[in-house]
Symmetry: none
Subunit: 248 residues, 2 copies
């Protein structure tokens, strides 16, 4: 089967997923996201923190699909070797990236965080790569060729994916609207699921939090279609009144 | 690195995972399970319901690892093609298996379930394969060579894994000890690397998380040797006091 729809693969990097210590939440999120912006996710792989395995998987996937999205292995510790592996796969050098250094140093100085060799690892970026900005914790990802290298922490990965989406061919910009609900996740789960089923072009995410001892939930409605997004968001906004009304 | 510890790969089969419609729960479960019984999960892949892709992944993985565990694609519908793909990968014929037929017919008759062509697909098993019994819903999985073919529904997959485990030549059980540190990953990365280098028989993983706006890190120390694990874990436990002490 051939088609003009861009294809993609996801490469999850990390021993912690294969040992079971961390339960991956990124594949499902990326799968939903790509479906909504019109990119066909064809394959995913999980590999451990071993250079040969990462390089082999990168080369197998980047030659086969339009895009490759990686998560994990870009932190400050010795087992974070993704950037080196991407440089090796593309046959380019790797060094501290001036803009990445600038971003990180400004962040560290503002917060009184010590600059050390481990943290400086997070500024190492393969030559010719472009940064993917990280609005959550600053340490950037990067993209080179058709490979997009993102963090493994879900909240950071999600912010990076929003950063990346407008650069993808065929991938429309993902719009989002957040609906804050003063209700616990358990109160809204059933209706949310129904609303999700009624709105297939939309991703509905539920992000519970606790404030002053009370549970509340932010509902994030994402779609590349503004009309579809608003239709679903309005149903979510109507939830509190709906739940408060006497059932008939 | 070579070792006598058996290795494994997991192959998750199904468009529904790649489209985001189903959030996979099997990889994390199998990862935990193999860790506990002392088998080293080295890689996982997710492929769609396309024969070429499934056969290529099966052949890549079964030649590389001691065991391959697949989930999904063994139900009654037209897109359940895993059994055919396994037969193709091993170059054997596939037909209705007498014992599988017997099990399924007894189940259908007892429940008044109609026998039809779609349901009979679930009795198709590659030649020379042995059944993996399914205590939940009867339709069996199978194993052939070093490949174990299981259902995608988590409760059924889990029952099949229990069925399979006694057939596996396991290494020693992997032990683990978690040391929670109230420190960011960047604060401990340098010493962790040193501790890892001093303890070659031990795997040290670093798992940062955020709680109430603060970054903290769980350090997981794994080894098949309890004495080695404890020696490394004690060095990690000493880290906060070490970092707080005035440097000399």
């Amino acid at each position: 089967m051939t088609s003009s729809i861009p294809t993609a693969a996801v490469l999850l990097i990390g021993d912690e997923i294969l040992s079971g210590r961390t339960k991956d939440a990124n594949l499902g999120y990326i799968a939903d996201y790509l479906t909504v912006i019109g990119i066909d996710l064809k394959e995913a792989r999980v590999v451990s923190d071993e250079e040969d395995d990462i390089v082999a998987a990168l080369n197998a996937l980047r030659t086969r699909y339009t895009y490759v999205f990686t998560t994990g292995g870009i932190g400050p510790t010795h087992d974070d070797i993704t950037a080196n592996c991407v440089a090796a796969a593309f046959g380019v050098a790797i060094d501290h990236h001036p803009e990445a250094l600038k971003i990180l140093r400004a962040h560290w100085q503002a917060r009184g965080i010590e600059e050390n060799e481990a943290r400086l690892r997070m500024a190492r970026i393969p030559d010719t790569a472009e940064l993917i900005l990280n609005s959550v914790s600053k340490a950037p990802g990067f993209h080179i060729g058709n490979v997009f290298v993102m963090a493994g922490v879900p909240r950071i990965m999600q912010a990076m994916l929003d950063e990346v989406a407008p650069k993808l061919t065929g991938g429309a910009v993902m719009l989002s609207r957040t609906v804050p609900l003063d209700l616990g996740e358990g109160d809204v789960a059933k209706r949310l699921k129904e609303i999700q089923l009624e709105h297939p072009g939309v991703m509905i995410g539920s992000y519970p939090y606790e404030r002053d001892g009370r549970f509340a939930t932010n509902i994030v409605v994402r779609s590349r279609d503004e009309v579809a997004m608003n239709a679903a968001a309005e149903e979510v906004e109507a939830l509190p009144a709906e739940l408060a009304a006497p059932s008939n």
